[in-house]
Symmetry: C2
Subunit: 139 residues, 2 copies
């Protein structure tokens, strides 16, 4: 068993590099990759609850709660107490959070195009399928 | 551009799941995946310097320095001042660190076999190649 054959080593080193590159691209917007993920859940999926966002991003509720707190400080979102049920939090975009959509999505799209330009369309599809499988494996 | 097509999202969710599963398997030895990685560099590659370990694991020197400090507290390794050049640190296994090799490697090997049993040999090779490529992409 060689370390360089270990799935955890291979995923961790790949993720680290891609995460760093995307972080560099998003720094011009003062956004981290996970903050982009949260915004995207609201832009595209109209997610309004922290629980929904956690499920879409496959993160712990406590992680999302911390991310939302930092995003509120950056004035990207507002957290309101739900009018329908006061036990729940509702997440809402600010104008600043709404206005970022077009430029941020364009940067993320260009980044993905660059990454996937290094492989064939068939390899890209196979990689995506295998990563989705690994994200859901349950031991 | 959908979030679920984004390479960073796909890698991060896959890495998170696999890392958690391997962490669970290694907890019986009171080891984290990165601590296993460091031990493996010494077991298999006879790495003796923090710099060499950082290169093999594709980590920052400062990260490795923190990991080694925690591993010394757990009495897995000792950090000595190099006898050849007093500016350098030399990492050495303790008996405890040496004795873990057989059992830990067996657990990591079994874990990898389980993960890769979910795909064909061809898919496994393609995945490994693509992950190695993504780890080295330079933007």
């Amino acid at each position: 068993m060689e370390l360089k054959q270990c799935i955890n080593y291979l995923l961790t080193t790949a993720q680290h590099n891609i995460f760093q590159s995307l972080s560099n691209r998003l720094s011009q917007f003062d956004l981290t990759p996970v903050q982009y993920g949260v915004l995207d859940c609201i832009w595209k999926e109209n997610a309004t609850s922290p629980k929904q966002i956690a499920e879409l991003l496959m993160l712990e509720n406590s992680t999302v709660s911390g991310v939302l707190e930092r995003m509120e400080k950056k004035m990207l979102i507002i957290r309101n107490i739900s009018k329908e049920d006061r036990r729940y939090i509702q997440v809402e975009l600010t104008d600043k959070g709404r206005d970022l959509e077009k430029d941020v999505v364009a940067v993320v799209k260009a980044f993905n195009q660059e990454v996937f330009s290094t492989m064939s369309a068939k390899e890209e599809e196979a990689l995506k399928e295998l990563l989705r499988k690994l994200a859901l494996l349950d031991y």
